[in-house]
């Protein structure tokens, strides 16, 4: 028998995530009514856009059965080189600033892919190593110097609104261009995963690597694509991060890897590969961003964010585990 649409929805991680978002949102706005405003919603989305793009970059790697924790170092190198080019040569081009980090990310991602494929060491080891190596090299070469002094167009770009609305109180608020970029990257990721050969191959190697080899898939090419994709998106995220902060600091992003990994897994991707969705990934990032925002609005110490963050991960991971246990315990039972 075919399961009804409703039953299928009930089985998805996204459904539970939305449920949790609504419940947590209701709790926060009960404690501080300011939480529930369009202004605050846009604010959460804008502040988390670069993390959201990191997460989307990580998603295909996780689906393929790998993992990459080096993307923060990749992003830092990409934004540093971009900032050097823009500030020392006084190039007044936002487009160039956007374009420079992407090939740098792809190149560094390709290095990850190459090492992972040819050493066959678990990618968590490889990318922890490259995270440290990339970041260490950058700090060593640059002396950890911060970079300021971006051209005015750069600051202008950070203020671009896609559209504006006027709320009941007469204030004008708008959706930042960074939110639009996050949205576009999400659509792109979804399209690649769902509608291209390489996307389906990524799911396939995450489901059964040996079977993929036997089917004649070129595993190195697939690795090259997924790690390159992570790198490319890390590049885009680093551009947003630079534009939002108007400066580059070599220690600003490194250290946030696990937060992003957690968000993607919260969104239903499996650490063992073969599973994950774009919608879940976006919701996972949003939930974590919302909790961080809520903790501040309620007036708690930011350490409480860490506590609730840990708690939410445990609950979400447990729900996932129970769901998959229920499925495997009743194999072949059709709903």
């Amino acid at each position: 028998m075919k399961s009804s649409v409703w039953q299928r929805v009930l089985q998805t991680t996204e459904f539970y995530l939305i449920l949790v978002i609504v419940l947590v949102g209701a709790l926060i706005s009960f404690l501080n009514p300011d939480f529930l405003s369009l202004q605050n919603l846009f604010d959460i989305l804008r502040r988390n856009a670069f993390l959201g793009i990191f997460a989307l970059g990580l998603l295909p790697v996780l689906i393929s059965g790998g993992i990459d924790v080096s993307f923060t170092a990749v992003a830092t190198i990409a934004q540093y080189i971009m900032a050097l080019v823009i500030t020392t040569h006084a190039v007044d081009s936002v487009l160039l600033a956007f374009l420079i980090p992407i090939p740098i990310g792809i190149l560094l991602g390709a290095i990850n892919a190459w090492i992972v494929t040819y050493t066959r060491v678990h990618p968590v080891i490889i990318t922890i190593a490259t995270l440290n190596a990339f970041h260490g090299l950058l700090v060593f070469i640059t002396g950890g110097r911060w970079i300021y002094g971006f051209p005015a167009s750069f600051a202008d770009f950070a203020r671009v609104q896609v559209f504006t609305v006027t709320d009941a109180a007469g204030r004008t608020l708008g959706m930042s261009v960074f939110i639009l970029m996050w949205l576009l990257v999400a659509v792109l990721t979804w399209f690649v995963l769902q509608h291209t050969r390489i996307g389906r191959k990524i799911f396939a190697i995450g489901g059964n690597l040996e079977a993929a080899r036997r089917s004649g898939f070129n595993i190195f090419r697939i690795h090259l694509f997924v790690y390159g994709f992570t790198g490319a998106l890390a590049g885009i995220a680093s551009f947003i991060h630079t534009a939002q902060n108007q400066m580059v600091e070599p220690n600003a992003i490194v250290g946030r890897e696990l937060e992003v990994v957690a968000a993607v897994i919260l969104g239903g991707a499996s650490i063992f590969g073969g599973k994950g969705t774009v919608l879940g990934t976006v919701l996972g990032v949003f939930l974590i961003g919302m909790i961080r925002n809520g903790v501040i609005l309620i007036g708690l110490s930011s350490y409480w964010h860490q506590v609730t963050f840990g708690f939410v991960i445990i609950v979400a991971a447990s729900i996932n585990a129970v769901q998959s246990q229920l499925r495997t315990r009743n194999p072949g039972i059709s709903l």
């Binding site: 509608h195 050969r197 389906r200 799911f203 396939a204 489901g207 059964n208 993929a212 499925r327 059709s334």
Partner: protein, 510 residues
């Protein structure tokens, strides 16, 4: 016996000429000639190490044969065959592990060859679903195409794997031990399906240790021994003993249990043991030095019952008695303490730690025996114990240090038996002990089991192969749909009769 000529006068769809392969100094395949015609079911049999898998790996492009080996498919000579090229020429293998993508839908698995090749090319979901539906409809199979493959039974997954090969226009379908995980009913369904494929012109190469099945499904049988071809025969010219003789090069006498009087001392007894949905009202009695058979199809509850006796699957009702006293077997530690040992069906996954040394595997069930003065394990004691197991059980091993993975299936099984015997059990439950073991090695394991019984251990031998039961057990129980029937004296039975009783084609009264 005359080697069979190919049926009809057809040109072979695949032929292999003068196939040789050396692995280092080992001559794994010696001048083998092999051919298949369109639409036949051809069986390939031989013991482990006879060259079956090397031959398959050559025609599927996984290993490169020695110079001078020629492979022709549909008349064209193939040189520098790669796995991908073999697929392109229609040579498909359904591996024992099926090589499916469990996280993808049935439709995507069937159409997955569309993803091979490079590029960011788009995939059409409609195209994928239509291709899958077409194949499934043509072959008249009932499968939910949108379901994830991991949610299907093993038998259905196997059908998906076959459909995938058909969807990518397989000319030759190689089935590697396809019935190992199937119930009798599922095996019959698979066979009728394979015959249907053969009628459509697909050539099926069927590889199996189960000689009864080889005789049932095969039209021709090619036998390999020590890397060389013994011959290709028409299946109707062969019988089971003949195949064993050709495979091993030795005369076999079908070993039946000797004259036998039942021992007196009761070791294990159950009374009304029940676990709902698995087995009902099981009462059996096992005596010291007895080898009692328990036969039934997969899914009848055999393994579940065995796990209950070993404390890993608590029963809902009923009692277990050891030496006449009622006992509680709540965990496997209880079972070991009470003297009950269990040799699992899947020895590779559950019985051995494959990447540990042979000696570590032999001592793992009883570390207390090898403790030294300070309660640390004593390497000298460990080696001595391991060596005694190897000697007592005639294990062919290059010493005790290599990893268990390096041993052949039969010798691995002896190690598993040996480690249990070291714990001085009163009762051993052996689940399919010769499953997947060579015909030749089966004899060695049989001797070990006899030896155990002579030493006074009560043995419960679980199997789904009639021959294994008849050759080892003077008495056997039959398990069907979770219920026990018997015991029956096996001296009065033959394979046909026993099989009929298991399938309930014949009344159980003997």
């Amino acid at each position: 016996m005359v080697s069979a000529q190919p049926r009809r006068d057809e040109a072979p769809v695949m032929s292999v000429r003068n196939a040789n392969k050396h692995y280092g100094g080992v001559h794994a395949l010696r001048a083998v000639e092999f051919e298949m015609v369109a639409g036949e079911v051809h069986c390939l049999v031989g013991e482990n190490g006879s060259g079956k898998s090397t031959l398959v790996k050559i025609v599927t492009g996984v290993v490169r044969p020695d110079e001078g080996t020629e492979v022709f498919v549909s008349g064209a000579k193939l040189t520098h065959l790669t796995p991908y090229a073999a697929l392109q020429h229609g040579i498909h293998v359904v591996h024992q592990d099926l090589s499916l993508f469990p996280n993808l839908s049935v439709a995507e698995n069937i159409a997955s060859h569309k993803y091979a090749g490079h590029g960011l090319r788009l995939v059409g979901w409609r195209e994928t679903n239509e291709l899958a539906r077409k194949v499934v409809n043509e072959l008249d199979i009932d499968l939910d195409l949108q379901k994830a493959v991991r949610e299907l039974s093993v038998a259905d997954q196997q059908l998906v794997a076959i459909c995938r090969s058909i969807a990518s226009e397989a000319v030759i379908l190689i089935m590697d031990e396809p019935t190992a995980a199937l119930t009798h009913f599922e095996t019959q369904r698979l066979f009728s399906f394979l015959r249907q494929l053969a009628e459509r012109g697909v050539s099926v190469l069927f590889i199996s240790h189960r000689l009864d099945e080889v005789l049932e499904i095969g039209e021709r049988v090619t036998i390999l021994r020590d890397g060389a071809k013994v011959g290709t025969y028409a299946a109707e010219e062969l019988n089971r003993n003949e195949i064993v003789r050709l495979m091993t090069g030795k005369e076999v006498t079908s070993g039946r249990p000797r004259d036998y009087t039942r021992p007196e001392v009761e070791v294990l007894r159950t009374d009304g043991l029940t676990r709902h949905g698995q087995y009902e009202d099981v009462s059996l009695e096992l005596r010291s030095g007895e080898i009692l058979g328990l036969i039934g199809p997969r899914g009848a509850g055999r393994t579940e019952l065995a796990l209950s006796l070993f404390g890993l699957n608590p029963p809902d009702a009923g009692r277990i008695y050891v030496e006449g006293k009622p006992v509680e077997v709540r965990t496997n530690r209880d079972a070991i303490r009470l003297g009950i040992g269990y040799l699992p069906e899947n020895r590779l996954r559950e019985g051995l730690v494959l990447d540990q040394s042979i000696e570590n595997n032999t001592v793992i069930t009883d570390l207390a025996q090898i403790l030294g003065r300070w309660r640390f394990t004593d390497p000298a004691k460990r080696s001595k114990l391991a060596e005694s197991v190897i000697n007592d059980f005639h294990v062919v091993a290059p010493g005790v240090k290599p990893r268990a993975r390096a041993l052949s299936g039969g010798n691995q099984q002896k190690i598993v038996l040996g480690k249990w015997v070291r714990t001085s059990p009163k009762c051993l439950i052996l689940d399919s002990p010769t499953n997947g073991v060579d015909v030749g090695a089966k004899g060695g394991i049989r001797q070990v089991i006899d030896q155990l019984a002579e030493d006074g251990i009560a043995v419960l031998l679980i199997s789904d192969e009639e021959s294994e039961i008849l050759e080892n057990c003077p008495r056997t129980l039959i398990m069907r749909d979770g219920r026990i029937h018997g015991p029956y004296e096996t001296a009065e039975l033959d394979e046909e009769r026993l099989r009929a009783m298991i399938r309930h084609e014949q009344e159980l009264a003997v």
